[in-house]
Amino acid sequence: MPTDAAIFQGLSWNPAADVRQLVSYHFMVNALEAGTAVAVLAGAIGWFMVLRRQTFAGHTLSVIAFPGAAGASLAGLPLAFGYFGACAAGALALAGVSADRSGSNSRESAATGTVQAFALGLGFLFVGLYHGLLNGIDALLFGTFLGVSNDQVVTLVCVAAAALVLLAAAGRPLLFASLDGEVARAAGVPVRALSLGFLLLLGLAVGATSQITGALLVFALLVAPAAAAQQLTARPLAGLLLSVALGLVVTWLGLALAYFSIYPAGFFITSLAFAVYVAARLVRHARR
């Protein structure tokens, strides 16, 4: 095990100098820009995901990106096509199993698990058929935050902007439907269409971000800041903003720590996110 001095290299006690060093590299600027877009998008969509209790669906969608990417490389299609195609197909499949009227909570979770296992099985098959990809599995799952290209940043910012516009447009009815589906249905809100639309939006966000962050990190950014925000406030707008802000802080700090250390960004971002959630729980506990 390396000592502390070896874990953090080049970190001085002067924050301004550290930040200047951080943004002096192009790859680091790209990572920070991409991270900002991911944190804003995941913070906002994740807030609705946590409210709707669809954490398992969110995890499943982020994992489904992997067979999509593997399938696209096997078929010789662009990777982005595989990511978005698989996430959209996954969203439709999840909407299909949860639209099954007989479904209680337990059945929905079992059906979601089945969808995920089957998708992973397909991904494994594709990887087996396409031998070259095996070494890239870690990148597919854990991401390559520090190797983001300019084009990827532009794509990501466009997708994030589009998704946020859609979310803002459907925000009010979606909030109503998420809080009380029965009453919303009675008031004429198209609950099922909103539910399908939200899953597609979640799939879009996950498909766009998992290309950069990997399937696992996007999930952490979806769930932890949003869960922390909902511990702290029940007001929708304040909660949404808080969720985005926490996501941003966690991502920026995590990327900076990863830059100065020998360990991966995924570890720092997930650990900070978890710490924020634990702190939020403690604050809520203390307030009672």
């Binding site: 995924g266 996110a273 959630y277």
Partner: protein
Amino acid sequence: MFVHEFMRNALVAGTFVGAACGLVGYFVVLRAQVFAGDALSHVAFTGALAAAALGVDVRIGLFVATIVVAVGMGGLGDRARADDVEIGTVFAWILGLGVLFLAIFTTSGSGGNGTAAVRVLFGSIYGLSGTDVAIAAAVSAAALAVILAVARPLAFASLDPDVAAAQGVPVRLLGLGFLAVLGAVAAEATQAVGALLLLGLLAAPAAAALRLTRSPYTGLALSTAFGIGAVWAGLTLSDLESRLPPSTAIVSVATLLFVVAAAVSARRAAGAARTAAAPSRAARRPVLRR
């Protein structure tokens, strides 16, 4: 098919793991804890990597990590049933820790450039030794025995925790104990056959059984049979078509079972709706005859 030793080992270990996952999975689905099972399979991944990074026996890391996290997640929630948001948050952090241990493991030069991670995630049922098979059989048999011994109170506590608690069933203790058993099964199955197969075998056979019958005991038997059947059929398919990985074949068979069961139950519901009023949601949950 039975000529090769690796195939015989795969069949024996697969039968035990399939039976344990089918049986435990029935309660997992009934208690809506599929997400917890999924999370535990990834905890196994982190545990194994942590043990590898620290130079401890991988199997110890697996079992200690999964069982501790399983009980911990139960302790966070009311009535020993973790909330999905809490599972998700803990889960995401555990994955981050896994990335850290992977980095330590690979930079410390003990070999394995991430292929260890792949093996844990997808398993290799064809690569089991005689000792692996014996351990898989022992752990699965122990889990089967424990669950069968408490099947009746556990079913009661899962279906109606309030009434069960009022009648003196130790609901919380059962919940924590069940999570510990689930953790042990997850650790064993992840290491022998991979996280992918664990999730497929926990969710799909049980979900299929729950759609076909309302009786808990028939459902338990059916779910166990589906788990074993999926393993056998999947291994046969993979043997016939060598490019098809065994885990993909097994999960595909299990998924097919679930789709067929869902179609059958939808037809039944449609038929019942024609003859009489449609059964209500509550009425279609399993009932425990007393």
